[in-house]
Every structure is written in C-alpha cells, then in structure tokens.
Symmetry: C2
DNA sequence: CTGAAAGCGCTAACAA
DNA sequence: TTGTTAGCGCTTTCAG
C-alpha cells in the first residue's frame, strides 16, 4: 500500500516486473513480430497481475496510427441515427477500427466544432451525415487527408465519398404513388426544421412530382419540439378543421404520421378510403399500431454498413465504389391505396 | 500544389508561417499566458490560413491531460439511454470535458472490452450504467485512478460514486399502488434479459411487495427481439388467452405496455375498469396514445446530469455527494385506478 | 512577454 | 528472437 499520488502503469513497469525489455513487452502486447512463448507468458502474466492498460495516446503518437472513425450525426433521439450507428458498428466490429460518435443537433456551427474536436484526435476516417456543411467544415474534411463518407443523402456533391438515398427522388416517388392511387387533395405535415436538408429535399421532390401531375399541396403545417406522436395528433386535427376536404396527408416522418393515424381512427374516419396517409422512414418501432402506416424505408442500417465498408477499404488502400445510391422502397401498409 | 503524401500540419508549420516560436504559437492557440496582441494576431492568422488543427494526441501525451469522459451504456436503441446522454451533454457542454460513448449490448464481456479500450485513452472520468460488472472491469475502474460514476441504479455497492433510482423500490411502489387500487390477479410481461439487472430488480421488488399483500403474480411472459409495440400486443393476447381472469398487467417497459394497451382497446376491453395496466420509464414518446399508460419515471435525464456534475466536481477537486438516490414518481395516467 | 530544452509513453527502424 | 536508439508533436519548466 503506497500513498503515492496516482500514476498510470507504463510499459516500463511491466518490463521491470517481467525482466523483459520494453520493446519486447510492447511486441507481446500487440501480438507483433516473433516472441518466444516463454517470454510471451512472462509478459502476459506480469501485465495481468499489475493490471496494465496500454496508453493509446502514446502509442498513437509514436505509430501515427489511430484506430478511430469519427461518426458525426445530427441527433440520437429519433430512431434513425441509432440504426445507422448499428450498421456501422456491425461492420467495424470485424476490424480493429472503432466508431466514435459526435452529435450536432442539426446545427452547422456545432457540426463544425464537433468535427474540429474529432479531427484533432487524428481519426482514420470520418462518416458524417448529409452533404451540407459550412465551408470551414468542408475545408477541414478535405485537408484531413483521410477517407470521408457523407451518408443519408446523395443529392449534392460529396467531399469524397457518399452513401445514401436520394430524398428528392423519395419525395417524388411517394407523390407518384399517391397520385396513382387517385388522391388529389393533399396536405403536408412536417418538422419546422430549415436545417433538416433531407426533409426539405423530400418536400421539394414531392411538390415537384405533384406539380407534374397538375396537383398542388393544398395545406401544410409544421411543428417543432414535443412528443411527435402527440404533435401528429394535434396537427392533423388542426389541419382537418381548416381543410376538411383533404383526401391525403403526407407526413415528414413516421412518428407524426402515427399520431395522425391514431387520431383519424379515434374519429372513426375511414383510412385509407376517405383519407390516405403516408410517413417516412420505415420505423420498425411502429409495427403493432392498429393499421400499418404507409412509409418509405430510408436504408439506414444499410447506409451505415456501406459507409463503414468504404472506410475500411480505403484505410487498407483497397479500391471501392465511392458513390452509392441506395434505393428505398415504398411500403403501402394499410393507409395508402394500392394501384 | 504538391505531390507529397499527406502529412498533418504541425505547430512548427504555424511557427514558420508566422515567424513566432512554437512555444508562443502553442500559448496563443490555448489562450495561455500573456502574449502580445500583435503576436497573437500573427499566429491566429497563420493558423487559420494553413487550416491547422491541433494534434490532441501529442497534446494529451505532453500534458497528461485528456478532456474526455467515457460513457458506457448498454444500448442506444430504446429511448432511455439517449436521454441519459443528453443529460450528460447538457452539463459537460459548459465545461471543457467531452463525452465519448461506448455501447455494450448488455454483454458483460463486451462491457469489459469497451471499458478497456476507453481507459486506454486515459479519460478524465467514467460514467457507466449499472452496478454489475465483471471482476476485471471493476478492477480496471478502481485502478484507473479517475472518478467513476455508476448510474441508473443504486441497489448495490458502487466502485466509487453512484446516481440513480432504486429499481427494487420502484417495483415495490408500483406493486403497492396496484394493490391499493384493488387489483389482485396480476400478470407480468417483460424482456427475456437475464442481464438486464435493473429490470430484474424491479421484478423482484414487485413480487416482494405483492407477497406482503398476500398476492402472487399469476402469469408471466417474456420476449426478446422484434418491435416492442408488436410484441406487447402479441404477448398480451397470448396471456389473456391463457389467463382470462387477470385484472392487471405490469409491463417491464412502456413500449410493450403501449402495445398491450392498443390491443386491449382494439378488443373493446375496459381499461382500467376490467384490466389495469402499467409500464415503466415514463417515455415521453408515447404521449399521444388514445390513453395515457401508467408508468414510472426513471429519472434518466437527471441521472445523466448529476453524474456529469459529480465528474466535473471531482476533476476540479471539489467536494460532492457521491451517492445520489433519485426518487421516481408514479404517473397513474389513464390505465391505473387512483385510490 | 518570449524562447530553449527536456520529456510525456510508446513504436519504427535498425542492430545484435 | 531480443534489444537499442531516436523520435512522434506537443507542453512543462525554466531561463531570458
């Protein structure tokens, strides 16, 4: 029992305890090079007894290698990004790379800051949501000299690589399915998020395709904050009070869509006969509602997976396709007539 | 335009570009010590033009200081942990500490591995979910010589500090409320998770308090995987088919409880008259269901906040209470008769 | 207010 | 198979 102020154990401590040089200890602990089994055991034994935990800071500085992949996403509080993360983890788990997550809350300046912090740890790669970043952020990404994969969107020019769906196209396809099903008086309900570029692009694609069919969005409403399910209810009620003739409601995400669905069922309204509904994301969570909401899968897990694959390939100097557009499919569910 | 292999910029580059010594450049970039305004500007200018991003690895090694707090949690895919994280972030944002998240998937060996990885970066503190860890993990935590806060549970002996609720007590209190409301034939539905110690403790407290009232759980059912809402439905249907006389269903989490609620409403069963329901977690997400499910707040955000406060205090050598039991309150909602 | 020297704990490269 | 040497890029410390 000592009264020393706390000091972490070093290779030197293990070296002394085992009577083996620091260099050889280092080799054993990293499974590098040839080490005799006897030495190996001595070292392992000593390290274990002391409870030695290597110092990656020193290791990284010396080797100029950091096994971290920076993952930068807007939020953890909806189902979408955690699922992307698990796709990333799945792939990285079989490598020696580790994801480190940073959250931006959809704020460009915060994204810039988080990115700066993460890059200062010299990660081996970056996976970042979206194609819209500040000029400074883009400059940092380029200057970092590491693989950068922008995910969840392909409508724009990536700094380096990109994996995701086209939200514009997703909006168009949903609009076309709605028109094809015969709906004509359409309302839109979404988040009040000027900075959610993907939601914006979906909306743009949506209105564009409607316009081609000679239809315009008749009413729209936006919310921010609060429980999405409850908001979906409120907004739907408000919109139908204002525009009782609507025959379709398109929601920018499944949670508010589910709220709307529950409201309409409560009111005894015929879905999808009198009013059709659709959301976005293909949230599995919602399986189990009285009706299955029409939606569109955003290929979240797959995006994560592919992005991680690109990073690992690049880190190993292998060739990979660096622009991957994934194809979401419409799930008609029980709230959008099939034609 | 050069064809050099990529090399990160260093202080030396900034030093040369600005004609100021490395040491002074370092001072400027860290806002340390006195530097003349003129020099300061020269340095800042040069750093910006070059796009210099400091190398924290080298900085951390030299200063023996790492502004990272390791946060280790079982999962990101239910609402509970993201909310803890946001409590932590809220507090750390006003300091120079940064959370780094690791996920264990409720697996002790993975927890051990994640912990090892994180400790090898020499963080300033650890926040880790739960009080149950492998011996090796506990040893590492003790040996790290940094503040360690175990959160989300206080039923046990922490390595260092603890913040959370007593799940045993939470189970007891819910049982008592149920008995007080007059229910007697009680079913339990939960996750098949031997490693979710908090769910287990709740169940233990629950049965213990029921027993004191001379009541036993009449039927129980466990699930794993799949959409919680859908599972809640299925399990409820199965249980009521088997045990039609039950008058109360206690769910180990709100999502399956919500599934059960939707099922019962579909069936036109009188809730909470014929059957009462309760879940656990106080998930805000579910506001907006036709009825509000009875539940119990797990003080998630508050746990995160308090844990972060303990870490920051300790890092600054301030005194803090290191054992904090939070008090969850029952929300009766519309599915548990009030007495 | 500014700079020079020493070294943080580890690993690359080379020598034995 | 093992050991030695020289840094990695920064900050601490001390001297101007």
């Amino acid at each position: 029992m000592t009264t020393d102020a706390h000091r972490s154990l070093t290779l030197r401590d293990v070296s002394e305890a085992s009577g083996v040089s620091e260099m050889t200890v280092s080799r054993v602990l990293r499974n590098r090079g040839d080490v005799s089994e006897a030495t190996r055991q001595k070292v392992l034994q000593a390290a274990k007894e002391l409870g030695y935990v290597p110092n990656k800071i020193a290791g990284a500085l010396a080797s100029q290698r950091v096994n971290l992949v920076a993952v930068i996403i807007p939020s953890l509080s909806n189902m979408v990004f955690p699922e992307v993360l698990s796709g990333i983890s799945e792939v990285l788990e079989s490598t020696d790379l580790q994801p480190v997550v940073g959250v931006t809350d959809y704020m460009p300046e915060k994204e810039e800051k988080v990115l700066y912090e993460m890059l200062s740890w010299r990660p081996s790669g970056v996976i970042i949501a979206g194609l819209e970043h500040t000029d400074a952020a883009r400059a940092m990404l380029r200057a970092a000299g590491i693989p950068v994969v922008e995910i969840m969107d392909v409508d724009g020019r990536p700094v380096d690589a990109a994996v995701g769906i086209s939200h514009r196209r997703a909006g168009r396809e949903m609009a076309n399915a709605i028109l094809k099903a015969g709906y004509r008086r359409i309302g839109f309900l979404g988040t009040k998020m000027p900075l959610d570029h993907r939601a914006r692009k979906r909306f743009e694609g949506f209105t564009e395709a409607l316009a081609k069919g000679g239809v315009q969005v008749e009413d729209q409403e936006f919310y921010s904050g609060g429980s999405a399910l409850a908001k979906g209810r409120e907004m739907t009620e408000a919109m139908l009070a204002r525009s009782p003739d609507l025959d379709f409601l398109y929601y920018s995400n499944d949670m508010i869509g589910a709220g709307g669905l529950l409201y309409l069922l409560d009111q005894g309204i015929d879905v999808p006969g009198q009013i059709g509904l659709a959301g976005f994301n293909g949230v599995e969570l919602l399986q189990g509602l009285p009706r299955k909401l029409a939606s569109m899968d955003a290929c979240r897990r797959e995006s994560g997976r592919r992005a991680a694959e690109i990073i690992t390939a690049r880190v190993n100097n292998e060739d990979v396709e660096s622009f991957v557009e994934l194809s979401p499919t419409i799930a008609f569910g029980d709230t959008l007539k099939r034609r």
